[in-house]
Symmetry: C2
Subunit: 232 residues, 2 copies
């Protein structure tokens, strides 16, 4: 897939049976008031009730297992994970896919910390990658582009420079949601230049190894970038 953008066509998402089954099973868990440790109905039984084959149901169960909702045990059955909250969280998230304010909130929390860590831990290589990203973005803007690629590179470089794989994973988790925000923001006239300027401020603070300044600059940047969204 390529330029999906906000204006572009979205590839029609083919329906996948297992995705539908995940939703149904989630709904079933809720409606049946199942508690952690409880067992789901047997595969053969469940498959028949849902009107699908066991093979397809097995895919849905794998998905639920990866999502952390259930734990499938050979010979016993599919038992609800001890942390039932995730089920509702995931459901809630699917429903209102893009709660922009919350995403911005999560993003500033993570990236503020990442910027501080980057300032403390960045190596010369990290710094080089950050500078490269700035150059890429500057070149893109010069060419009349929006600079989205450079923007993404920049934030990835910051994340890498923080040297925290756990935080990096959390960023990856919300990266997709952020992408939409990014595209929209950089579509504003004059915005790419402003964004680049605030990137430079962040980079300066990281180069100077000043964590507090880095966090501050990052938060200001995210504020700027998210500004337009919230006015909708």
């Amino acid at each position: 897939m390529e330029k999906t953008a906000r204006a572009g066509l979205e590839r029609v998402s083919r329906p996948r049976l297992y995705e539908q089954l995940v939703e149904q099973i989630l709904a079933y868990i809720e409606s049946a008031r199942l508690r952690p440790g409880d067992l789901l109905p047997a595969e053969r039984d469940l498959a028949e009730r849902l009107g699908v084959s066991r093979a397809t149901l097995a895919q849905a169960l794998v998905a639920l297992e990866v999502l952390g909702v259930i734990d499938v045990q050979h010979g016993t059955g599919a038992v609800l994970a001890r942390r039932p909250s995730v089920a509702s969280v995931i459901k809630g998230l699917r429903e209102h896919q893009s709660r922009l304010p919350e995403i911005v909130e999560a993003r500033s929390t993570l990236e503020g910390k990442l910027a501080a860590l980057a300032a403390e831990r960045r190596t010369a290589d990290d710094l080089a990658a950050i500078n490269d990203a700035l150059d890429v973005m500057a070149r893109e803007i010069n060419d009349g582009d929006r600079g989205t690629h450079g923007d993404e590179l920049f934030h990835q470089a910051i994340t890498a420079a923080a040297h925290s794989s756990v935080l990096a994973q959390l960023m990856a988790f919300i990266a997709e949601m952020i992408l939409e925000t990014r595209m929209e923001s950089l579509g504003q006239p004059g915005r790419p230049e402003q964004s680049l300027a605030s990137h430079r401020k962040i980079a300066d603070a990281i180069r100077a190894q000043d964590p507090a300044a880095a966090t501050e600059a990052m938060l200001a940047h995210i504020d700027l970038v998210s500004d337009v969204e919230l006015l909708r």
Copy 2:
């Protein structure tokens, strides 16, 4: 089997073929230097090469899709997601399962923010849930228990009171790793009482709707709780 680890018995986890396939495919992606947008080999081909049936491979592909590594398109094939970093992040995370310092880092980042948000947004119900959690933990400690259940309830109540589903989901993501830390920490003599006292401080700040104090109290609490870990 024998008693794994210091605490309770762990149920032996039987190997699941699809999990193994996920690892192998991840390794293949890396070794073949596949880039975002590239196609994985066809299912029939891949299944044969890996020596498994298509049905099993399909499960592995579902897992990879849920993990955000690939995007399976009907009629085209399995294409690598535009964000290849997750693949390496996931692999990296599996390798050194518990980088305690990094987990503590991520936890304090998230929970510090959650505490501040909880102070701003908590409803009367949220407050009641927080108080309930304190009571549960107090009772547990009184009974000579470690108070792990109350501890967990408390942190869940704070998360809920912050009213941010995105941050809540990120917390759920690292909750399992935190669990290990929690158990170990509360096993220290005198630690449950200290932990409960710092919980009360956090609750006070949230009751008083003082975000800064809430964050500070939460960070102090996590510092306390994580203290012993780092000395190992």
